[in-house]
């Protein structure tokens, strides 16, 4: 490279940084920087009226899994916390699996429409995706709450004598999360299926494959990146869900997100809230790293 070209490259890189700088400053101040403070807070003792007291303490990290007996200081498993973690993981996995089971046929259906109709069906998936999550969750509560539409209809038809207790259960949270996060599964699946070469189906059927074999052995391996992307896009927000479990799970069926909020409200244990937040962040980052690694490997093989 000549010195002139070298100078041009340096100038281009400098301009790249300069143009990006304002966005980076705002993101640092109002998005990333504060995360570092959360990390610091998780190593401090709680203040008497919320916030933190200055000092170093590992109690918040211990508090994720253990409770300390107030009399003799012995440690015991914090059953309440473990129940919340278990519920969060269980509901997020169930949501992801179910969203895939119904989302895959939906994405396939869209991808196999004629081009004009495809855009229309895709738009129909996009609208709920961009519709306020609160409104969508509220729509579900209207149907399943005690005086909701479903109970009213069933009571009027004399199918049930008592209103069913559907809301404020784990099932309600599961239904709600599947409903609100389903488009996040369908969109990346569609993006993968859209590029799928339909001639492969002909080849498979010519070789006497049955539809199930075609699905399992031909389609799914090829669209695996889309499956993984969709699963992560559903699993990550499910695990950190706040609005949906709050409205559909009520106070008893908390998930991690609500448990974190509790520490900053009535719980008045900001360090524990901070250590829980960092834990959630680590799990999510782990999931994303697995995805990035997998996606890179896929593209390398593909080339």
């Amino acid at each position: 490279m000549s010195p002139a070209e070298q100078a041009e490259v340096t100038r281009s890189a400098r301009n790249g940084w300069l143009l990006s700088a304002p966005a980076l400053v705002v993101l640092t101040l109002a998005a990333i920087g504060p995360l570092a403070i959360v990390g610091a807070y998780s190593f401090m003792p709680p203040g008497e009226f919320g916030n933190v007291a200055w000092g170093f303490s590992l109690e918040a990290w211990q508090g994720i899994l253990f409770t300390k007996d107030i009399f003799d200081g012995t440690l015991a498993w914090a059953d309440a916390n473990l129940t919340i973690f278990w519920r969060s993981v269980k509901l997020s996995v169930l949501t992801t699996v179910f969203a895939f089971v119904v989302g895959f046929p939906t994405a396939w259906f869209i991808a196999t429409r004629p081009p004009k109709a495809r855009a229309m069906w895709l738009f129909l998936i996009t609208i709920p995706f961009w519709t306020n999550l609160l409104i969508r969750t509220f729509a579900i509560t209207e149907i399943i709450r005690k005086e909701g539409l479903l109970n009213t209809v069933l009571l009027n038809l004399h199918i049930i004598g008592q209103p069913l207790e559907m809301i404020y259960t784990d099932t309600a949270v599961f239904i709600g999360m599947t409903y609100v996060y389903l488009p996040l599964m369908v969109l990346p699946l569609f993006a993968s299926l859209d590029r799928f070469d339909m001639r492969l189906l002909e080849a498979a059927y010519d070789l006497y494959a049955n539809p199930w074999q075609v699905l399992r052995r031909v389609i799914m391996p090829i669209v695996k990146p889309g499956i993984i992307a969709g699963s992560i896009l559903v699993f990550v927000p499910s695990l950190g869900a706040y609005v949906t479990p709050r409205l559909l799970g009520g106070g008893k069926n908390m998930m991690i997100g609500n448990f974190i909020e509790l520490q900053f409200g009535q719980g008045r244990n900001w360090p524990l809230g901070a250590s829980l937040s960092v834990t959630l962040l680590i799990i999510v980052t782990g999931a994303l790293l697995v995805y990035v690694r997998y996606a890179n490997r896929e593209t390398r093989h593909g080339q």
Partner: protein, 268 residues
């Protein structure tokens, strides 16, 4: 082909499932909209068509306040984040890969990756510190937070537009002795405009819809429409919420339709 009904891409059971999914996605929203026109108070019974809940919402000062605040916040955040995202998109596309480019991508997309509740908690702590130090408790916190998490939503369509653009036009402008600024102002910017509007719309919708971060960051008396609704839903449910939801829904659909019209041009 002997069997005319055979469609190669059909998989057994897939179409019915897709049909159920579309019905399942739209039915709850449809019910919500329909019952916003109910004369009665809840979904328990249909008591005839009425616009009374829209009137109730319209006359409710808390709703009016929250609406104005929401629109003001979304407009500010959309403008700020779009300006920042446009600059960043110009900085990160159409040039030789440079050191730290991946870092910039990760920074810009970070709000999409971190769980919202974690960002919300982080902002709560950070802004509590600033509040204590400065005593300022205005809308600045919400505007800063919203501007930050809207950046990736504005950035993505702008970058997509830039990458799909024909660079030879700028080279032609430069050949005709246009300065860098003139080439940008009269060639690049007009071509980029649909992408910028698309990005701004996504940013606006994203800000308008936000619940979690707003709940944690807002000071007392700074309810936006979604946080007002969240509070109401937990207390008691009236069809007023259905009416507000329907208006928000209509606004979102309108903006999305505009977005699609703006971004589709490219394919022609």
């Amino acid at each position: 082909m002997a069997n005319k009904g055979f469609v190669i891409s059909r998989l057994p059971g897939f179409n019915p499932i897709a049909g159920l999914v579309f019905a399942g996605l739209y039915l709850p929203i449809l019910i919500l909209v329909v019952y916003s026109f109910n004369a009665g108070r809840s979904v328990a019974s249909w008591e005839g068509f009425s616009l009374q809940w829209y009137a109730v919402a319209w006359e409710n000062d808390a709703v009016k306040d929250a609406t104005i605040r929401s629109l003001y916040l979304a407009a500010s955040a959309a403008v700020i984040s779009t300006v920042l995202a446009t600059l960043a998109a110009l900085g990160t596309t159409r040039r030789k890969a440079f050191g730290g480019q991946t870092f910039i991508y990760v920074m810009i997309n970070q709000p999409l990756m971190v769980p919202e509740i974690v960002s919300a908690v982080a902002l709560l702590i950070f802004f509590a510190m600033i509040k204590q130090a400065t005593g300022y408790a205005g809308m600045g916190y919400l505007i800063a937070a919203h501007s930050a998490f809207c950046i990736p939503f504005a950035y993505l369509p702008i970058r997509a537009r830039l990458e799909g653009m024909d660079m030879t036009l700028e080279t032609a402008a430069a050949d005709l002795y246009a300065s860098t600024w003139q080439a940008f102002r009269f060639v690049t910017l007009p071509l980029l405009l649909p992408g910028i509007f698309a990005g701004m719309m996504l940013a606006f919708v994203t800000s308008l819809d936000d619940v979690v971060i707003t709940v944690f960051v807002k000071s007392a008396g700074q309810d936006t429409l979604p946080t007002y609704m969240l509070g109401q839903i937990r207390r008691q449910v009236t069809a007023e919420i259905n009416a507000i939801s329907t208006v928000l829904l209509a606004l979102t659909v309108l903006l999305l339709t505009l977005f699609f019209v703006l971004t589709r041009k490219k394919d022609e």
